[in-house]
Symmetry: none
Subunit: 251 residues, 2 copies
Amino acid sequence: MEYTINKLAKLAGVSTRTLRYYDEFELLSPGRISSKGYRIYGQKEIDRLQQILFYRALGVPLKAIKNILSSENFDEQVALESHLSALLAKREQLDLLIANVGKSIRAMKGEIIMSDQEKFEGFLKKLVDDNERQHGKEARGKFGDEIVDRSNAKVMGISKEKYAELDALTVELTETLKTAFKQGDPASELAQKACELHKKWLCFFWEDYSKEAHIGITQMYVDDPRFTAYYDKIAVGCAVFLRDAVLIYCK
Amino acid sequence: MEYTINKLAKLAGVSTRTLRYYDEFELLSPGRISSKGYRIYGQKEIDRLQQILFYRALGVPLKAIKNILSSENFDEQVALESHLSALLAKREQLDLLIANVGKSIRAMKGEIIMSDQEKFEGFLKKLVDDNERQHGKEARGKFGDEIVDRSNAKVMGISKEKYAELDALTVELTETLKTAFKQGDPASELAQKACELHKKWLCFFWEDYSKEAHIGITQMYVDDPRFTAYYDKIAVGCAVFLRDAVLIYCK
DNA sequence: TGTAAACCATTACGTAACGTTAATGTCAAT
DNA sequence: ATTGACATTAACGTTACGTAATGGTTTACA
């Protein structure tokens, strides 16, 4: 089967300009030229274009593609197989980005807090592993493996409706806490109500609730600058206030 | 936390040139300038850079990113959510490419033959959407939303090793089915083994396996010309053969 | 058989998003 | 006081095409 430039362009989903450029660049020359100077592409060129587009989709520069395809020891099968693993790697990278966006959405909803580093995790595949591991370690050190694992599983599998519920709860908690903080007494009724809401909020993530863990996590809000920053966004000193209130609540 | 240009560049995994360019382009200006003219970035800028890189990763031109971020009614949450769906679409595109490469490898091994059109399928995203949507619709009609949704989720989350496993399984299934078909008896041991392999293959995508669904889908292979074509590429009449074998298998 | 629409060609300037180099000033530590 | 890492601006280079402008060719059809 032979194709003119337009036919091939449509088949492959590229512009004619691209094909002319590839010709000029000597990356893909037409199989033959018609009597009036038209470019005619044959089977060989189609297959080569397929290869080119494969590599292009991977972000390989045209110059490099040229080298790859013209190298003496170019084994199509090996090339495709390594190509496949490159694509799979790219997908992993993409999955990371997706996870990161999901995380950002949850962060915005106030469900979690992201550190500056975490904010770029999706872009830095290298750093990710270590980061994640370390972050996990921290939390694990304080509350044990099981709770974290189960809470993770719970976050992952949360349903749409649950999400909305959680969202509403977050707003209520924030508002209550803000008002209680203004009054200034951690033992006040409102402050204790905030504690209850906070407990409910935690139970979205925890399989088992315990007073010790509740106290532990609010203490962590105070100790860890990232969490402190988050609660202090509501009002400066709020993290400490919440911890004090929870200490009374759990007494 | 404040960052100099180099610190921020390392944190975010971009070059300092890029940050200076973004400044010049008025896409991301430093929060303040030191007495000696150094760029100093603060929290606000970090968050903005994160947004920028998100969109950049999607291939959105900087000019457009500028518009998006500066638009009056820019709702971060909505933006992130639409962003997420864009990423998911991108992954679908990538999955298609991966499938295409896998196909090419098998084509090279002489197992299948690809038409010129098929050779470029992975690159034509426009066709994908319609296809995918139509495909989804049909399957939903027959098995209900839930199974499809869950199976999608499963495909999405498939890992590298799992993919290799699936690929190997596909090859084995094809070979077994081909041989069994040649013998001609849907009740034969080999045909029943093909059914078992097919079940295993399905379980890669299905959360819950049931005999009814198994029979249903093989019937669909017969009813839907696209699927029929696929299985008949192995051998003409193969779709019917598989359905008959599965009817016995599930009896 | 004429003619418009569709398709082919080359030439050439435009662009996006930085990379790179050069020339020079600043900071921290020895 | 020097050294090396880091900061600045200025300006030209690069990649992979897009987008005219200008003109010849093929095809459809009235």
